[in-house]
Symmetry: C2
DNA sequence: TCAACACTTTAGAATCATTCTAAACTGATA
DNA sequence: TATCAGTTTAGAATGATTCTAAAGTGTTGA
């Protein structure tokens, strides 16, 4: 709890009740993929009612501070990943699930980067049926 | 023109005025990436006013028949790619542009596919700044 | 050629994730 | 503990996309 407060402070985020609850859930040591909706539902189960606006705000605050990765895999919901190490994903659109690939993947044969651009990151998504 | 009609018929799509215009634009031999909005604008420039609903319908009809690839790269607009060969992309979220990578890319080091699942496709997105 | 019908198009309403607004609230600081 | 910047929130707004249901149009068989 005080850990969480410190954790938030060290990221220049004021440790409010809501952020503590959300961070406590997200960063409990088990990597997770959440959407605003799924997070809201999960917290509600634990009797923590936090407005959706705050959930969106908080996810973005965390994302902007590098505490979450953002994944746009389908047009109708954005996923946030608590695993911020560089990694890739298995994804099933049909079943809407996401699995981290934590092995080292190599991508070979890339053409040269367009003029005046820099590669930010390479994202590999393995789509499953 | 008759080519386009045949082309549509061969894909079990009735060659309506609107589909002929849209297919004529999309499949002119030059690969393109469009969104519903960009397509609508492009056709309007050419004095072809087609309702957005029809543009969405048609893009999906084409997509379902394998004439277009669908790319969900940002949450707020879906791209359709006239290049349906298996290929990858450079993508700049900031500048909202998309470049096909037509070279052969190899992805090495994938872990084994989750039980009872099959790989549908592997998508590599090279994010640029 | 044409009637008949299934397939299409369309305007406008509806949907739904996400963002915005402006007011109430609260952690931090002196 | 008063003050104020940073937060939370309900509810409205946004914007891409989908839906609805009515009008329009290819296609086909005679």
């Amino acid at each position: 709890m005080n850990d969480i407060k410190q954790f938030l402070r060290s990221n220049a985020l004021r440790p409010t009740k809501q952020r503590i609850v959300i961070a406590g859930y997200l960063f409990d040591g088990i990597d997770k993929h959440v959407t605003a909706e799924s997070l809201s539902t999960e917290l509600a189960k634990r009797k923590h009612i936090i407005s959706l606006a705050t959930i969106y705000n908080t996810l973005h605050d965390f994302y902007e501070n590098g505490l979450l990765k953002k994944l746009t895999l389908s047009a109708d919901r954005v996923y946030f990943d608590t695993n911020t190490d560089h990694h890739h994903h298995f994804y099933s659109e049909k079943e809407q699930f996401l699995i981290d690939i934590n092995k080292n993947i190599k991508v070979n044969g890339l053409p040269k980067t367009p003029k005046n651009k820099k590669i930010n990151k390479i994202e590999v998504i393995v789509h499953l049926d």
